[in-house]
Amino acid sequence: MNIIYSPLPFMAILSSAVAVVLIALSYKRPNLREFWTIAAGVAKFCIVLSMLPEVLAGHVIEFSLLEVAPGLEIAFRADAMGMLFALTASFLWIVTSFYSIGYVRSTHEKKQTRYFMAFAGALSAAIGVAFAANMFTLFIFYEVITFCTFPLVAHKETKEAISGARRYIIYLLGTSLAFQLFAIFLTYSLAGTLDFVPGGILAGTGSKAMLTIIFILFMAGITKAAMMPFHSWLPAAMVAPTPASALLHAVAVVKAGVFTVVKVVLFIFGVDLLKELGLGTVLMYFASFTIITASIVAVKQDNLKRRLAYSTISQLSYIVFAVALLSPSGITGSALHIVIHAFGKITLFFAAGAIYVRHHKTKVSELDGIGYAMPFTMIAFTLGALSMIGVPPLGGFISKWYMFLGAIEAKHIPIIIMLAASTVLNAAYFLPIVYAAFFKKAKYGDASGGIVTGVQEAPGMMVVPLVLTSIGALALFFAPTIFLDLARIVVASVTGGG
């Protein structure tokens, strides 16, 4: 493994931070403003992509920006794990940008400049999380995400939006300040460093009880992973405009959360230490509980976005669960699921947004027969849903397959039953929507009051992105090579094989 010193990871972060300023300056010219968003997205993706060959070759790209105070360094490191997340987030940002433009222009949202600024800022921070070389840098960007997404959640400035946003910030900021920061303090004073090292930095530094406390504090503090009982900010955040929910609350924000969990598990504690402490199993059962409970709650939701939110809570816990298995296949599955869930869930959110924009429907019970009015949208929705359930030939199958393997490797046989049960539940909350859309008679009217007959799709700016992401979800089944290779590099480094 070679270390290459290059500012590329930092430039990837900077590209959209610069865009924030440019967007702010061109507030009077919407087209120029949107151009900056797209340009920054493309630039960011290209920068990330340019690092891919090196990372695939097993190298690590490092860049140290500055030392804030002794022991507190802002540094970036593009490794395989970060690459997985950064590739997904930066690619999906481009897609979402087009979708956003279509969405905000169709719904005539106010304060679009603030919206796009916050979006670009959040993306910068998400890439910052992906490429953070130590816990301090990660924590900074973790908080920046919170602050940048707050305006998105509160966007509508209605009472409901503001109270949702308030809950959002109290949960995310409160727990991260109270627990995560505490854990960081303790980690630093025990280990004397906050660097991410494959295999962990805490082994042999403190008593068993102390390490357990730190682990619990970390898990309670990383609320963005939406593990129960700290999940309720996510449904509350659904008041945000749909593209924001799609990218941030299916990809950037929540994935930053699980990504942090994975980082803590693999690079702060390390597989061996967690096995020794027996904490992996505890985390696994917690995650399993969230998977099942959130799925059951999701079945009962009538609001489409809320159902998707609970589905997200459940799916995020898959990622946590898989890494907590602490077995090679489990970690592979976990890493892959970050990508695969992103593609699947963003498709679903896009579809929900398209339905809202074109037909102003937000409830599952109103969707009967909509498949005929919006065929592309609903086919994409179906593909996304099937990927979530884990049906071949869709990406979701691959990650679930690795999770099964991981569970067997880790000799947690009872947990396989949980996986099976949750798959059934996934089907139970997604398939009725698909069934209703295509096989039930339409009984709703359009805006003019008449029965909808012909095809009434959302604007192309919205439909094309969602079709693209659904194709992505499909393609991940047939060609997961790049991501699989990245996941293997991660596994090799953290289990001592590399």
């Binding site: 305006p151 109270a178 920061l181």
Partner: protein, 510 residues
Amino acid sequence: MTLTEHLPILIIILPLFAAVIMPLTGVVNRSLCWYFTVVVTFLVFLIALSLVCNVMEAGRISYWLGGWKPPWGIEYVVDKVSALVLLVVSFIAFAVAIYARRSVEKEIAKSKVPLFYSVYLLFITGSMGVTITGDIFNLYVFLEITSLSLYTLIAMGPKRRALIASFNYLILGTIAGTFVLIGVGYLYMVTGTLNMADLRVLLPELYGSSAVLTAFAFFTVGLSLKLALFPLHIWLPNAYSYAPSVVSAVVAATATKVSAYVLFRILFTVFTVEFDTSVVPVTYLLIFFSSVAIIMGSVIALSQTNIKRMLAYSSIGQIGYIVLGAALTNELALTGSIIHIFNHALMKGSLFLVVGIVVYKTGIDDISGFKGLGRKMPISMAAFTLGALSMIGAPLTVGFVSKWYLAIGAINAGMWFLVPVILVSSILTAVYFWRVVEKIYFHKADEVEEIVTEYEVDGAGCACKRFEAPLTMLIPTFVLSVLCILFGIAANIPAGIASSAAKMLLGGGG
């Protein structure tokens, strides 16, 4: 004898003489007073800056007043700690002086403006003197100069309630000052010296003496009262909230810091760490009270609707941080404490200055008055948000740096249970500041025409348009808040100074 050698006395004499001349200047031309103040405070800042440079290069500077050799003569001492405090105080004084012009015009009667600047300079004289002196009786005199000028400044507040606030502060401040005087008396009684460095040499043999213990008790209580350590804080909220905006800013940023500095001096320079921890376990008491201060300050701040009061209670919590770091008596925590003197001056200063701008522009000092201001005063509100983020302790702001050192220091001292105290108060701080930030950016301004008359005169147009403050107010405010971020990122610079200052304090005074 070059001028450089006399800098330690010039930093006192310059503002003192300027304060005397100021009323005369006012007779000549009232508008000259402001220019004069700005020039003087700027010179004071330059002197402080060059003193810091000298100290960093050459180490401790000792200046003998009138050439009398200490311990008989009065000695002025500039070392790393006092240099840092001098720099902070003079910088804030300079920034606020620039800012003062418009705010003072609005809040203080015209005929009293020269007197205001005169007393303002007197206050700076006192603060500088407290910081620089190495003589314990001289310290008392300067403390009283500071306090007396503060009483007057606070009494100039626009509401009549300011008078009562000032009077109550006067009573309590006098009690505190007299306690310090009694402490000085007992120390003199047993040692026969007033020089701090000399006291440090002579005192250890007498640690068993009840006179020394009495002196220490009077010092601790007196200074706790001066720096408003919970539960001796009662004078502070009223004094801060009814004072003129300029005064609130400068007091919040410097006055209590100077008192905290004096406490450090007494704890670590006059007495030794061993005395504080083993002979009289005062550090445990201070840890307890400062923890309570941190929590209670934040809790009470939560329930305030007046923004100045909210900031005042928040200051009580922040003073808790400063005392906590000192009471933990280890290097990291004390570094956190010293750096927090610096950091808190920046953040509280900028926050109070923003409040001053809002009061200047709208006449409202209630939190609800901030509704929708994000649109109207984007720059001031950005400054407020930066200050608020620093107070919360978001990473990359100065607040985080202080909290980092304090928390790691607490863990190293084996008191990791203090970390939750710090964190819980961060959360509470987040809640009460976020309330305001949310009002600024996500609430629409009240449609009521509450304030229109005030600023239409300024030609700023109707309530829906932007109406930023004049540049003399805006620039100092913004500079302070940008420094909150700058020193949060480049924290190595202040942390380096603070850490060597902490080493010096714990290591042996010199």
